[in-house]
Symmetry: C2
Subunit: 348 residues, 2 copies
């Protein structure tokens, strides 16, 4: 009857943002892998690709031509998941067949006219321009009457379903607050109502004291492997002060955000010496015109890779039916990420 | 200002089992796909593979040798996510760093000694033997003092992280009720307390009246594309009568279950004429010794494929951060599955 060791024994951890538990199996990290592996292609891409529908001056699938843009470029997604139309609908109450039309706007944000760059290889000043556009878009879209939530995100890498290596992200802005955001909001709210302060502000303070899971820190932001991380190298960028959303950030805070995004994604690329795939996105207050003192700006990074550039973590079976499960502990991942250099492997 | 058409207009649907909404974008089904495609290999496998660690008489990775089994064979997973050990632990209350040791048992169930068979190609009588073993395992594991939940599931296909084509499933039995099961239980309970009957019993009755989403039906079970399905060809097998768990099923009900599993998986294989990948698993009452009148046996099938054997749905970005999103409607998927033949494409 030995005593518990979190580096050795299976355990569950609590995620206070989603009010649910996850399973951690540190003893499982060394099981052999005979399953599917991912293709890794590390060819040098051209600065401009005549076949890329996101490059300056090229024609998109729907026949429209991109302008000869420099820097950041935003346009409405040609195959959006939402439509602006206001349709007539009569609601019927039902236990099993509840359905509601949903209005919204989908946009694509090209981070740069340079086809070959990704965030870790862009200059901080150029990433800052992306942050500026996020701020403008959140403001402009949020100002629309029927837009109550603006989801800003990036899918990077073919393993994340991204069909184009041109550096870009997306925005899905819509009438409703999406399920996961609503759950997060409810938990932030419970904490705020109980304690009169931000859950994430208190959490960041504790992490900064403990130092165990902090990857990066600058004047305004930290990057941390959350105690309850699910993906092997999952991280969160959190603002040190409680900002409800991106509109509150000054120029120098936006530069800090660009700086920490650059350094975090450099570390990611340096982990396996490949352009590191992930889905990343911002959680912040909805644009529903209500007060949201509970909200605290943060950005999630969910990267799928586990052991190498070729072997990812499969969230299947038990994870889909029962609960998220991880192998290496968040502290082990944090240690590895912390020790990686801030010079991008391609510049060595 | 046209009127709402669920085959054309983006909308959200409510999932009463998880108390959350999902986004349906029917207009998006025809967007072109330039992203990652899956490898499809359709070689004829041998009945016995000397390199397979699940075949009769072979040596496994940890050096143990499988017996010369015929039919179904169960063993403890060599690289389990859980351990039986009872470790000493002192609980500390914490808002952000809650952690608890978790005990449990992981097992592997080989469905057949025949390496080349999968469920749709097995005889109903042989699938019935798998169901018998599920029942025995649920009973035996559930009888252990420290096992309060028994998760039975199958990952099929390399795209679902399954490393071995030998037909097999898994059981993860543990002390806690996993997050997603607990959420389901809470919602079943709310309905039961309000209406005095089973949510899924009432739901199945309505689906049988409407017929729109029912794929298969036999004396004891239905297979339906739920109104709130997330995966393109997601289905549920639900018992017509409210059984809290698999222990309640008679021999003839177990045969019915085997029959509907066979026919559903045949339809899946016939969809794209490939061995169709999925994660599937049973949701039923926990083995925590408490009364569970709210529970109603059902089995989820989550298949990843979308347009073809090569193109899957990526649940990334928006889906990870905001909420699940699907393209074709559940009714369209049901129509397609309904019309597929019950003769397996390999037997044509
Ligand atoms: O147990 P396996 O088949 O080796 O592993 C697979 O199924 C498990 C349970 O769904 C997952 O946790 C793993 O990520 C997956 O690769
Ligand atoms: O919009 P894209 O890049 O074509 O598509 C990708 O991202 C979307 C949003 O995360 C997902 O819904 C799609 O499944 C995925 O393939």
């Amino acid at each position: 009857n030995s005593s518990f060791d979190q580096k050795k024994h299976p355990h569950r951890r609590y995620n206070p943002l989603l009010d649910e538990w996850i399973l951690v199996s540190p003893q499982r990290a060394n099981r052999p892998w005979q399953g599917q592996t991912e293709k890794v292609t590390e060819e040098k891409l051209p600065d401009h690709d005549p076949n890329c529908y996101l490059c300056s001056g090229n024609v998109r699938v729907n026949g429209e031509r991109n302008p000869d843009y420099k820097g950041v470029y935003v346009f409405d997604n040609d195959f959006g998941s939402l439509m602006k139309d206001n349709v007539q609908f009569s609601d019927e109450k039902s236990d099993f067949f509840s359905l509601k039309p949903e209005r919204g706007i989908n946009r694509v944000i090209c981070f740069s006219d340079n086809h070959s760059l990704t965030l870790p290889e862009m200059e901080v000043d150029d990433i800052k321009k992306v942050v500026d556009v996020w701020q403008e878009q959140y403001k402009g879209l949020g100002a629309e009457d029927y837009i109550n939530h603006v989801q800003i995100f990036e899918n990077k890498g073919s393993v994340m379903g991204c069909s184009n290596p041109h550096p870009h992200g997306q925005i899905w802005a819509q009438s409703s607050i999406p399920s996961t955001v609503l759950r997060t909001q409810e938990n932030l709210k419970k904490y705020f109502e109980k304690n009169g302060c931000s859950l994430l502000e208190d959490y960041v303070k504790r992490e900064l004291e403990m130092k165990e899971r902090i990857i990066l820190e600058n004047e305004d932001f930290v990057a941390v492997v959350p105690f309850w991380a699910v993906w092997p190298y999952e991280t969160m960028i959190i603002s040190k002060r409680k900002a409800e959303n991106i509109l509150e950030f000054s120029d120098s805070e936006k530069l800090s955000l660009a700086d920490i995004i650059k350094n975090l994604t450099i570390k990611y690329d340096n982990l396996f010496n490949v352009s590191f795939p992930y889905s990343a996105g911002i959680h912040q207050s909805p644009t529903d015109g209500k007060p949201h003192p509970e909200w605290h700006f943060h950005m999630h990074f969910y990267p799928p890779l586990l052991r190498s550039a070729e072997v990812k973590k499969f969230m299947v079976g038990y994870e889909m039916l029962a609960e998220p499960q991880r192998d290496i502990t968040p502290e082990q991942s944090a240690e590895i990420l912390k020790n990686l250099p801030l010079l991008h492997y391609r510049n060595k």
